[in-house]
């Protein structure tokens, strides 16, 4: 079941067409990657989902209902531009963000303490936000985002500014949330993280979707496989255009893109007869590559 459905939404500002007839839907209980280069229209899209700005045309459905003030209480949003009230106490900050999502402070108090403990911030609960380091503020803002138990969580670059330890901690929390039934939309530039966490993605560029679907399908459909080979001997056959479309020699190994009608098996057979093969590995194209290729086209 889709928790979020965007149908043909468009938004134009004076000079720019920020979003053009964008459609995608996010199924419940998964981590969904919303990707795109800078200025692609990700933030505008998220702002429309959050009802901060209205689309010029198109509809947005949340949990099967058209977007409205009530619906967005079901969403937790961590914007890329972080911001908290500097003079407020940590614990008050969390309950305040719960309150503006229609959860009374007394209902969120206990959960707030649990989250502070989980994210190693408990000793700071009565400190002012301005006393926290940047990374700690980041984690605090994450707690504020999810304190009201949202069904849908939108995280815009959640890992920026976090050290590897905290990145890992947050990643585990995201997976925990997913396992308890929440849906997460994950917007980022970090393709590695997307490859690890997301099942489905939507890649947008210049306000329009250029690639969407399951990550596996996309990778499969995205051109030929790559072969990494390590060998001893003279590999004259690499220059044979009927076998190898393209190759890059890195010294220690070569990366080979076989010709269209040549399978990796055929290539391996051919190679074994001519050189001493030490390593032969078929790998999928990385999302990074796909991203760059898709955006360049």
């Amino acid at each position: 079941m889709a928790i979020l459905k965007l149908k043909q939404i468009s938004k134009a500002y004076e000079e720019v067409h920020a979003v053009k007839e964008l459609s995608f839907s996010v199924d419940k209980g998964q981590i969904f990657g919303l990707l795109g280069p800078n200025g692609a229209g990700k933030t505008t899209t998220i702002r429309m989902i959050m009802d901060i700005i209205k689309p010029d045309s198109g509809t947005i459905e949340i949990a099967g209902k058209l977007n409205s003030g009530q619906q967005r209480d079901k969403i937790g949003y961590l914007p890329e531009e972080r911001g908290l009230y500097k003079k407020m106490k940590v614990i008050d900050t969390i309950t305040f963000f719960g309150e503006i999502k229609s959860k009374p402070a007394r209902q969120t108090q206990a959960a707030a303490v649990q989250w502070l403990e989980k994210l190693e911030l408990l000793e700071w609960r009565d400190k002012k936000v301005e006393e926290l380091s940047k990374g700690m503020q980041q984690k605090l803002q994450f707690i504020c985002t999810i304190i009201h138990n949202p069904e849908l969580i939108i995280l815009d670059e959640p890992f920026s500014g976090l050290d590897p330890v905290n990145t890992n901690l947050l990643k585990d929390v995201m997976l925990d949330l997913k396992n308890t039934g929440a849906t997460i939309i994950f917007s980022t530039h970090l393709m590695e993280q997307v490859e690890k966490l997301c099942e489905n993605i939507c890649l947008i560029n210049k306000g329009a979707s250029i690639l969407q679907g399951s990550l596996k399908e996309i990778k499969k459909g995205f051109g030929s496989n790559r072969i990494r080979m390590q060998y001893e001997g003279a590999a004259e056959f690499l220059k044979d255009q009927s076998l190898v479309a393209q190759y890059d020699d890195y010294g220690q190994y070569v990366e080979i893109k076989p010709a269209d009608n040549v399978s990796p098996q055929q290539l391996l057979k051919y190679a074994i007869d001519r050189v001493n093969v030490l390593e032969f590995k078929v790998s999928e194209p990385s999302l990074n590559e796909i991203f760059i290729k898709a955006v360049k086209n």
């Binding site: 009802d51 003030g69 914007p79 504020c144």
Partner: protein, 427 residues
């Protein structure tokens, strides 16, 4: 609704807990206590001090009437004179030596002062006082007055006039002021009314500027700390604006309630308490005000605050930093300042046509109508009219500022031009 309350609560608690608020709120009651008690205590303490005064009288006519008058002029509660007057006697040419002695006694504090009066008092109208302290105006004006009386009496006697009769005939007349209102005439001091209305309007003026600026500052801070985006993903812009304005308005009200309460406490119980410590005190410097004055103050503060605060909120949403705000806030500042300056123009004629018209202009109403009410020159219909006009203007101001606010708070970078602003309002 609950969301707006959460926003109001956050804003209010933040303001009320701030050091600036606590200091500012306590300062005024302390000041009231100071001006009401300290002068009374000081006056009370001074009464106890005795002073020795010597008089050199070469005319032979002045000493007796002057010493009597001096001793009569200041007494303690038991009726004993606080001036000890002695006559200086000398023989032949020893006056110079005598004066050296007197100087020495003034030096060591035994004498407060000595007076030298010669025939020149009748010719040149002057006499001399020698003392360590030449800035005690109270003492000098007293001596001057008593000496003049003595000299006048002698002159009259010598001209064959009866000093008592002359005094009676040349008596000054005094004005008594009555204020006329719906309840008839009642005795009231014009000066006190002037002074008080100045003070109250001053407080109102500063409160409007200060709390208006707080609203603008708050909006700019939210914008520059980028907290705006998260907040707006949960609440509507108008809820955010209302939360900010009502929260800060409530802070202002809190401050005034503390001030009014302390003023009322001082004027009601202050005298009794003060008398425990200083029985000589018979009145305090702060006159008490009627409940209507306080109500009018609160009402016109609220009207003025909501009017200016909505404008300030709109302004704050347009800019990115406080320094940028300086350059856009002057039109609003000007309105308040002009209202304040107009007050001086109409305080002497609070019921003139000019005063009536000016005080009905909504941006001037809070200060001017309140001042006119303080001076008690306003028919009820004008009060009601002023409230209705201001409320309508507040409505318009909320509408315009709300539109600007909605777009402005998410705009970063370039400040909007006037045509852009108009587009925001239409949008």
């Amino acid at each position: 609704m609950n969301k707006t309350i959460a926003l109001i609560k956050r804003e209010y608690l933040l303001q009320v807990k701030s050091k600036g608020f606590i200091i500012g709120t306590l300062l005024l009651p302390l000041f009231i206590l100071f001006v009401s008690f300290v002068p009374a205590f000081l006056a009370n303490m001074e009464v106890e001090k005795k002073a020795n005064i010597a008089v050199i009288d070469t005319t032979g006519k002045i000493y007796t009437p002057l010493s009597v008058a001096l001793q009569e002029s200041r007494k303690d509660k038991q009726g004993n004179s606080l001036y000890n007057v002695e006559q200086v006697t000398w023989s032949g040419d020893s006056l110079g030596i005598k004066k050296e002695e007197l100087n020495a006694r003034v030096q060591n504090g035994e004498l407060f002062a000595y007076i030298e009066v010669t025939d020149s008092v009748f010719i040149k109208n002057s006499f001399a006082v020698y003392s360590k302290n030449i800035t005690n105006f109270d003492f000098y004006s007293r001596v001057e007055r008593l000496m003049s009386d003595a000299v006048k009496a002698i002159r009259m006697n010598e001209s064959g006039l009866d000093p008592e009769l002359v005094n009676k005939l040349s008596q000054w007349v005094k004005v008594q002021t009555f204020q006329v209102d719906e309840k008839g005439a009642s005795e009231a001091s014009g000066m006190a009314a002037y002074g008080l209305s100045y003070v109250m309007v001053f407080i109102l003026y500063f409160a409007l500027i200060m709390y208006g600026a707080y609203v603008m500052q708050g909006v700019i801070e939210d914008k520059s700390s980028r907290v705006m985006e998260v907040i707006l993903s949960s609440v509507k812009p108008y809820q955010l604006m209302a939360g900010k304005i009502i929260g800060i308005g409530a802070t202002g009200l809190t401050q005034f309630f503390i001030w009014i309460l302390s003023t009322v406490l001082v004027t009601t119980f202050g005298l009794v308490i003060a008398q425990q410590f200083a029985p000589g005190i018979s009145e305090l410097a702060i006159p008490s005000l009627s409940i209507w004055t306080y109500l009018a103050f609160i009402a016109y503060f609220l009207l003025g605050f909501f009017l200016y605060a909505t404008l300030y909120a709109g302004l704050g949403s347009m800019v990115n930093s406080s320094s940028e705000a300086q350059s856009v806030q002057w039109p609003v500042m000007m309105l308040i300042v002009v209202a304040f300056l107009l007050m001086f123009a109409i305080i002497k004629t609070p019921d003139s046509t000019l005063a009536v018209v000016l005080s009905l202009i909504p941006f001037f109403t809070p200060l001017l109508m309140f001042m006119r009410i303080m001076l008690n020159a306003v028919p009820l219909y004008q009060v009601i009219l002023s409230i209705i006009i201001t409320l309508l203007t507040i409505g318009a101001s909320i509408w315009v500022s709300g539109k600007i606010f909605r777009v402005g708070i998410l705009m970063y970078g370039k400040r909007p031009t006037l045509p852009e602003l108009l587009k925001w309002i239409k949008y």
